[in-house]
């Protein structure tokens, strides 16, 4: 279980208070929807509420998962969060006449400019920057694929079979040594970092939390199952090539083999998962329920856009903060 983080403002302070005390004041005023994605206090508050549905926290009653006040607060936060996600720009307008959703998803993903983060990690990042990257990603990778498990009972027929196939591989394909969450924990430990779930929550930036929260929003709300499938498709389809670069970066820096191993595993796995997610999960689900197609494109756009914003944020932090690297290239080669 996870240690509770420190509050970052009134909303996360309210949630932490509500975890400890049954007598609760009303929820503080929410920021405007236009501001919530980069509001660390808002994103941490929502992350804390979602976490009750995953593994919970040390010293927090498990029964609070279905506490009416906390569910009500979660819904109040989800409304502006979803509005902000729907207002994000899409890399490509794919509204077309009855086109196959797999074709639309592929066009959208192909239109996304490949980011600078993976090439930077491959060629230029310092050891400290690489470790900073691992810490920042730990908030997701230590519960990798868990949000999508909530999606399984919301699907039926061929799409469910395909998601189960993908998840089985994510969860080690029958071999505990290959559980992806555990491969990442091995990478953290080998690099001298903490593999305890949530260890780096206090330093995780708003956009990384937002990216994580978007997966929970989509997976925990049945009406958003289309977005959950589209998000997964974009996530898998933008993984294989960057993971190859990141693995090469870990080798370049001479990091322990477990670091490259995690990313190596994802080169092959996600090349297959990409096809399964686009063709078999999204394709079959949209064939059965065509009205889900637009939300699949929405979910995919959210994945691409939040990933891009979080990556730019991280690169900017490294460029502007001299503490992590002795070489500070302003331009990424």
């Amino acid at each position: 279980m996870t240690h509770l983080p420190s509050p970052r403002g009134p909303l996360s302070r309210w949630v932490l208070g509500a975890f400890a005390e049954a007598d609760r004041p009303s929820l503080p005023r929410l920021p405007a929807a236009t501001a919530v994605l980069s509001d660390g206090d808002f994103q941490l508050a929502l992350w804390l509420l979602y976490e009750l549905h995953y593994r919970g926290f040390d010293g927090v009653e498990a029964d609070l998962e279905w506490d009416p006040d906390l569910i009500a607060a979660r819904r109040q936060l989800e409304a502006p969060f979803e509005a902000a996600l729907r207002a994000l720009p899409s890399p490509l307008d794919t509204t077309g006449p009855d086109e196959d959703v797999s074709v639309r998803l592929t066009r959208l993903i192909d239109a996304d400019p490949s980011g600078e983060l993976a090439p930077y990690l491959q060629r230029a990042a310092s050891r400290e920057e690489f470790l900073d990257f691992l810490r920042s990603r730990s908030i997701y990778h230590l519960k990798e694929s868990d949000p999508q498990s909530f999606l399984l009972p919301r699907l039926s027929g061929g799409a469910k079979v395909a998601l189960a196939e993908l998840q089985y591989d994510e969860y080690g394909a029958g071999d505990p040594d290959f559980l992806h969450q555990e491969l990442f924990a091995d990478a953290l430990r080998a690099c001298g970092l903490s593999a305890d779930y949530g260890s780096y929550l206090d330093e995780t930036d708003a956009l990384t939390l937002a990216n994580n929260n978007a997966m929970s929003l989509f997976a925990l709300n049945r009406r958003l199952r289309g977005a959950a499938m589209g998000h997964l498709a974009a996530f898998e389809a933008t993984s294989s090539v960057p993971c190859r670069r990141i693995a090469a970066g870990a080798d370049r820096l001479g990091l322990p083999a477990a670091a490259a191993r995690y990313y190596d595993e994802h080169v092959e796995a996600d090349a297959a998962h990409e096809q399964v997610a686009i063709l078999d999960i999204c394709g079959r689900a949209a064939a059965a329920e065509p009205e889900l197609a637009d939300d699949m494109l929405f979910g995919a756009s959210v994945c691409l856009e939040l990933d891009r914003l979080a990556a730019e944020d991280l690169l900017e932090r490294w460029r502007s903060g001299p503490s992590l690297s002795d070489e500070m290239p302003r331009v990424v080669a």
Binding site: E165, A173, S240, E268, A272, E274, Q275
Partner: protein
């Protein structure tokens, strides 16, 4: 074993294989329920797909992509 070809020059998806025999006659162990086998010959992880086909455009000068 079930095999399906992905569109756009993508890989072969192979399900239920224990091993995969590549074009050079080398036998590769399979430990996944579904694997993607490279069809564009540009993968750096042969015989497995690594996503490189996306950079091989239909109008690229190199034949056989």
């Amino acid at each position: 074993m079930r095999v399906s070809q992905c569109p756009d020059g993508g890989p072969l998806l192979v399900r239920g294989a224990q091993t995969w025999l590549d074009d050079d006659g080398t036998l590769h162990e399979v430990r996944r329920p579904v694997v993607a086998v490279c069809q564009c010959s540009r993968s750096q992880r042969m015989p497995w797909c690594d996503g490189t086909h996306k950079f091989v455009r239909p109008d690229a000068p190199e034949p056989g992509g």
